[in-house]
């Protein structure tokens, strides 16, 4: 029952990915999952470790200290490189460390405002208490003290489980600092399929679709077709090209049967047919939308009856 209540509460709120700016148009900032953050974290740990090892090798080569204390110095250096690295990197790159830059994720303030220095220091200090300290503790565990090992294990598990129970996948440090981590969206503007003028040969006829033929599909099918057509421009090997051709053939036949398009399509014209159908269908759906008739997918007629 508790689980159900928890699930209900989860569904009730708005999606954690959306953010309402003052302009009043909801924006989408997708929350970064635990996996991608772990990957970024591992990258960062590798980088700081490499920096530490370089410094230690330098110290050893220059013979500045005796070997006995080298281990203590290594721990010290790792600590004094690691802690400022996270804080300074996130301060300078506005919420990104090198690992986060590689994974294209970013820390943002929970309320959508600027990241304060306080928040960044806090979330990275808590990382010491949450991640690094239990990790070193785990390395130093011995079987002689089972109680201490159990306590350490419980601590680690508790710390690691917190993000899984949070809608925003926040660590404890994130909660305290009022931040969470998002995928940085990458804007890539692809060509508009509809604006590509179809090349017409002299003896090629134009495909014409009637209004009743366009009444079968909705937005979902249109966008699936869009993805398929965009995929055609990618280079392909012989084998996958053949597969692709077969898929196209199947789809063309399916559409032809569904909409009742009588003329057979010669193999050379299949893509042109799909392109023409995409244009006509999109024009038609946009026209319908203009009249307040939104068609999400091909089941739109049934959905209308139910409501």
């Amino acid at each position: 029952m508790i689980l159900r209540r928890w699930k209900n509460r989860r569904r009730a709120g708005p999606s954690p990915d959306t953010l309402m700016p003052p302009e009043g148009v909801a924006l989408t900032l997708p929350i970064a999952g635990v996996g991608v953050r772990l990957a970024a974290q591992i990258t960062d740990i590798l980088l700081t470790t490499i920096a530490t090892v370089c410094l230690i090798v330098l110290l050893a080569v220059l013979d500045l200290t005796d070997p006995n204390t080298l281990f203590a110095i290594a721990v010290l250096l790792f600590f004094f490189i690691r802690v400022p690295y996270y804080v300074l990197a996130e301060l300078v790159w506005n919420g990104q460390t090198l690992g986060k830059r590689m994974m294209k994720i970013k820390v943002v303030s929970h309320d959508g405002g600027p990241l304060t220095a306080h928040a960044l220091v806090l979330r990275n200090l808590m990382k010491e208490a949450e991640v690094f300290l239990p990790a070193t503790l785990l390395l130093m565990l011995d079987s002689a003290s089972p109680l201490a090992s159990l306590a350490a294990l419980a601590w680690i598990i508790m710390g690691l489980l917190v993000p899984f129970f949070d809608r925003y996948r926040r660590r404890l440090g994130d909660m305290m600092a009022g931040t969470h981590v998002i995928h940085l969206p990458v804007p890539i503007l692809l060509k508009d399929l509809a604006s590509e003028a179809p090349v017409l040969g002299a003896n090629r006829k134009q495909f014409v679709f009637l209004s009743h033929q366009l009444d079968h599909y909705g937005a979902f099918e249109l966008q699936t077709l869009e993805a398929l057509l965009r995929g055609q421009s990618l280079p392909a090997s012989d084998n996958s090209a053949r597969q692709r051709n077969e898929t196209i053939q199947v789809i063309v036949e399916k559409i032809r049967k569904k909409i009742g398009y009588a003329d057979p399509i010669p193999p050379a014209d299949r893509l042109r047919f799909l392109q023409a159908f995409y244009n006509a269908q999109r024009k038609h759906l946009e026209q319908r939308q203009l009249f307040g008739d939104r068609r999400e997918d091909k089941f739109y007629a049934q959905a209308d009856q139910e409501t």
Partner: protein
């Protein structure tokens, strides 16, 4: 079919054609703002960024209504989100961060959390007292309370001479950076980090750990008092111990602050209470870290150089008075 000025294009294609140049411009400005920072952009660019961002949000709202082009929708979603972060979440200025912390932030946070500091010191003091009394009652308690690796052979069966030798000993083998490093990562630093870290999860472990730390200290002290070396050990401990033990108490106070926020959030939500408590707790943690580094410096360099008992007292408690002055006097006056 000729495309004359986009007359024959469908609505969404026309919509895109009219605005595409502006979107491209916004894209460039966003990249510029992200790489160079909003503060270093010139006036015209910053103005364009803001106004183009607003246009893009309108475009997004319209596109969601009329366009079925998935690529276009995805592009606009990403572009406006990126631009939003540039316009509303710009990078903060970093100048004066350290000096502001040292002159205002830290002392004020310390004064605000005095009940927790008191509690931290109380835990330690009670621990010391208990350990001391337990040892006087039966010296076997020493073996229970003192971790063996810390005692270093100094136990109830050690001779008075050997104890004195440790206090005024000249060689411990290491000097300089190595000694500094090993002292900094000694027992006490680990205790301080644990005390702070455990405080977050619940108060009790932090209190217990501080108390336990006091217990072993009390037993250790009682051993020396028993041999008539109380004052000498006092000097030996003072030189860095005043700073180091205070640092543990400060860390304990920070942990307790977070722990109480989790346990007794009051009218706030737990996350809200944590956020509120975190503002001071993080400052306490940084103060504790600074004090631990200072203590390691005192221990690594001061302890071997200064052999005189009263001078050790003066340095140790002088450092303590300096810390106290910083916390009580710093950051007063106009806000």
């Amino acid at each position: 079919m000729a495309l004359v000025d986009g007359q024959d294009l469908m609505r969404s294609a026309r919509f895109r054609k009219e605005r595409e140049a502006d979107w491209r411009h916004l894209e460039q400005l966003v990249l510029l703002a992200e790489s160079r920072g909003l503060q270093r952009m010139d006036f015209a660019q910053a103005r364009d960024l803001a106004s183009l961002y607003r246009q893009a949000t309108t475009s997004l709202a319209i596109a969601r209504e009329i366009s079925l082009d998935k690529a276009l929708l995805g592009y606009l979603e990403a572009l406006t989100a990126r631009a939003y972060l540039c316009v509303y979440a710009p990078q903060q200025r970093l100048g004066g961060l350290v000096s502001r912390f040292l002159t205002h932030g830290a002392p004020r946070a310390m004064r605000r959390s005095w009940p927790f500091l008191l509690l931290g010191f109380l835990c330690l003091a009670l621990g010391v007292l208990t350990g001391y009394l337990l040892y006087l009652e039966n010296s076997d308690w020493y073996y229970v309370l003192m971790p063996t690796e810390l005692a270093g052979g100094r136990g109830p069966d050690a001779t008075t001479e050997s104890l004195r030798e440790v206090i005024y000993g000249h060689d411990t083998g290491s000097h300089g950076l190595g000694a500094f490093a090993s002292y900094l990562f000694s027992h006490n630093t680990r205790i301080a980090i644990f005390v702070f870290g455990l405080g977050v999860f619940a108060c009790a472990p932090a209190i217990l750990l501080t108390f336990y730390n006091g217990l072993s200290l009390g037993a250790f002290y009682a051993l020396h008092v028993d041999r008539g070396l109380g004052l000498d050990l006092g000097g030996w401990l003072s030189i860095h111990g005043v700073t180091e033990l205070s640092a543990i108490c400060v860390a304990c106070a920070g942990g307790l602050k977070l722990g109480t926020a989790v346990l007794f959030p009051g009218d706030r939500t737990r996350v809200g209470a944590l956020r509120h408590a975190g503002r001071d707790a993080v400052k306490l943690a940084i103060v504790a870290a600074i004090m631990l580094v200072a203590a390691a410096v005192l221990e690594a360099f001061g302890r071997q150089l200064v052999q005189d008992r009263s001078l050790r007292f003066i340095i140790g408690w002088g450092a303590g008075a300096l810390w106290l002055a910083w916390f009580t006097l710093g950051g007063r006056g106009r806000r």
